[in-house]
């Protein structure tokens, strides 16, 4: 019977109820467990290193194209395709060619310098054509391929996804439960019992932390199993960082839900809070891509701090001291938002 045993204690009973409500909500299960795994899978496959695939190069269909094609073929890491002049730009735009070579003396390269792969291709083509023209290189360096676990895009991405997930589920997990109960007058009904208000809030946090454990196991287990993503810094440091992050976003979630009366209302507020961080905080690409002037703001965002700390531990093997600044920032966010939320919280 559900009223027996250890669940007689209100905190335990509230936590159990919250637990049941979460796992009985299929959408919740999807966002917590399935979504981050799908994301890791899709991006992991998209950015998988495929060995040395030759770089596609378009060679304009003009007199002098044949020796250029031959030189490219000799280079081994380039693949020339003869292309009519009118198709060049379409090929560049779609990524089917990284560079266009217009035969001539000297030849002309057409490419978009913003694309790193185009700049790389330009160097490779230049070396190949210069070699063919008799300018031998002074020396050829030895190369070592680096595709070992710990230094690939997927290794960098997984901590970002984990941070994003901690933010999302932390905010939704707390915010939804609270606003749902408020809009149904259930919060008011519970306040009419001798239930301690702190027990209600604590039950949300406790069940949240329990789910955090499952989430981390699911995402990291999957990433480790499929992509060999590891954790340099060891489980203890990782768990501490995740806990601090979850508490910080718990506070932010509590604050966003502290007064909203409807699910629509709180969804709006949460999107306003979360979308900028999804974009700016370095989940998918490095924070350094943003202008210098924006850096202080981006660095102050809690998701940036969380992801930096997670990467510090998982990729660089930092101990907790090594990510102290980030942890301090997160704790600050947590304390300030919790305090504020409790002040303005509307129970009815």
């Amino acid at each position: 019977m559900s009223d027996g045993g250890p669940f007689r204690h209100p905190l335990a009973a509230l936590t159990l109820a919250r637990f049941r409500l979460t796992i009985r909500e299929p959408e919740m299960v999807f966002w917590i467990f399935v979504f981050p795994i799908l994301m890791a899978l899709a991006l992991g496959i998209a950015f998988q290193s495929r060995g040395e695939e030759p770089m596609p190069v378009a060679v304009r269909d003009a007199p002098g194209a044949a020796p250029i094609l031959a030189a490219l073929a000799r280079a081994g890491d380039l693949e020339g395709v003869v292309t009519p002049e009118g198709d060049e730009l379409a090929l560049l735009r779609d990524g089917r060619a990284h560079l266009v070579v217009v035969p001539g003396s000297p030849p002309t390269y057409r490419y978009d310098p913003v694309r790193p792969e185009s700049r790389l291709t330009r160097l490779l083509v230049d070396r190949a054509l210069a070699g063919a023209a008799g300018h031998a290189p002074a020396w050829t360096a030895r190369t070592e391929e680096v595709a070992t676990p710990g230094s690939r895009y997927i290794d960098w991405l997984v901590p970002g996804l984990l941070g994003m997930n901690i933010m999302g589920t932390g905010m939704w997990g707390l915010g939804f439960g609270i606003v749902m109960a408020r809009s149904r007058k259930l919060l008011k009904r519970m306040v009419a019992t001798p239930m301690r208000r702190s027990h209600f809030l604590a039950s949300l946090v406790v069940s949240r932390l329990a789910f955090l454990g499952f989430e981390m196991l699911a995402l990291l287990g999957f990433a480790g199993w499929v992509f060999g993503v590891g954790n340099e810094g060891g489980p203890a440091a990782l768990v501490v960082v995740a806990l601090v992050g979850a508490l910080a976003f718990g506070g932010i979630g509590l604050l966003t839900a502290s007064r909203a009366r409807t699910i629509e209302g709180v969804s709006g507020i949460m999107n306003v809070v979360m979308v900028p961080m999804w974009i700016c905080s370095g989940v998918f690409f490095a924070v350094t891509n943003f202008p210098e002037a924006a850096q202080p703001f981006i660095r102050a965002l809690p998701l940036t701090a969380l992801i930096d700390a997670l990467r510090g531990v998982m990729l660089n093997g930092h101990a907790l001291a090594g990510v102290g600044v980030e942890l301090g920032l997160l704790a600050g966010w947590g304390v300030v938002t919790f305090t504020l939320a409790l002040r303005v919280f509307r129970w009815q």
Binding site: M1, S2, D3, F7, R8, H9, P10, A12, A13, L14, A17, R20, L21, R24, E25, M180, A181, R184, K185, L186, K188, R189, M190, V191, A192, T193, P194, M195, R196, Q348
Partner: protein, 320 residues
């Protein structure tokens, strides 16, 4: 009906006022519920019943007035006081994905004492639904669950805001017997209702609330007796007889009929309060015949609290 126990009241409030902007929802209301008594608040929509009961429950702060519940005031040791109260709000939607037993168990965990969940389920006739999610209950079953959540802590005083609205007649009777048993075990009840029969069956005393004030108070039988008329005769007059001077003359002549205590008119329906049907009804018929008026759909009923309200305000209790 057992006599209400005397002694210190279960609940007492004086000079209660609650304003919402320009609107005064509760306007200087005094109320006493004795121990072991079932007290009913009656009144039309918007009368201020819910506002009053939520102030008494300590959920709303009044703008003026004093409240004493089970000898304590709100704001001192609220948790201790709440352990002794059972509360049913007019509208609570419980979590749809918890079962009936889980919901009761959750509320049960907030209290130190109280019956096992299984007993509450049985009391409410919800055993068969113990494992059903709240989202799959019928409206009446949810209503019973809500009352159950008020009972799980074994309260001394029960607040019920329209506990039987939306129930079928059988479920209502079932709930009445739950409440009668609760009161027989020395519990006190404050409830609001729109059902006059419910108030007459359940309540030792009732207060009729209108515009945030109590306009009449007493045992249902006393209030009805104060009408001075045990019966009500209701009828319509064919249109055309409704012109004002005509109507005034008819009212005067009706009032002069033997045994008529009072004459009320709501739209095209007329009501006579009568002490003795045997005396008044034939007189009414004779009057109609002599005046050449054809009465439309004559009905009679024993006077109810509804008639008390109509005679006090000239309006009906329910928005019919």
């Amino acid at each position: 009906m057992p006599l209400p126990a005397t002694g210190r009241p279960a609940l007492n409030c004086t000079g209660l006022v609650k304003r919402y902007g320009d609107l005064t929802a509760v306007d200087g209301l005094d109320l006493t519920v004795r121990r072991g008594e079932c007290f009913g608040l009656l009144g039309p929509n918007g009368a201020g019943k819910t506002t009053t009961i939520e102030i008494l429950e300590g959920l709303l702060a009044p703008d003026a007035g004093a409240v004493e519940v089970l000898g304590s005031r709100w704001g001192a040791d609220d948790d201790a006081l709440r352990r002794r109260l059972g509360i049913h709000l007019q509208e609570t939607q419980f979590d749809e994905r918890l079962s009936v037993a889980e919901t009761l168990g959750l509320f049960r965990s907030f209290y130190r004492g109280g019956p096992p969940v299984a007993d509450v389920l049985e009391t409410l006739g919800l055993q068969a639904k113990a494992g059903t999610w709240v989202g799959q209950l019928s409206g009446g079953q949810r209503q019973r669950l809500a009352v159950g959540c008020a009972l799980v802590g074994d309260p001394e005083l029960l607040f019920l805001d329209e506990p039987t609205t939306g129930l079928d007649p059988q479920s209502r009777r079932q709930l009445w017997s739950v409440l009668q048993r609760f009161r027989a075990a020395d519990g006190s009840i404050l409830l609001t209702t729109h059902y006059m029969d419910e108030a007459q069956v359940l309540c030792d005393r009732v207060a009729i609330v209108d515009g945030g004030r109590i306009i009449a108070q007493g045992a249902p039988r006393e209030l009805i007796a104060s009408l001075g008329a045990a019966h009500v005769i209701e009828f319509g007059l064919p249109s055309g007889q409704d012109a004002e001077p005509d109507a005034r003359e008819i009212a005067a002549r009706l009032a002069a009929l033997p045994g008529v205590r009072d004459v009320d008119r709501a739209g095209d329906r007329w009501q006579l309060g009568a002490e003795d049907l045997q005396e008044t009804l034939p007189a009414l018929m004779r009057f109609a015949e002599e005046a050449g008026i054809a009465l439309v759909s004559v009905t009679t009923h024993a006077a109810t609290l509804e008639d008390v309200f109509v005679s006090l305000t000239g309006r009906r209790l329910r928005d019919v």
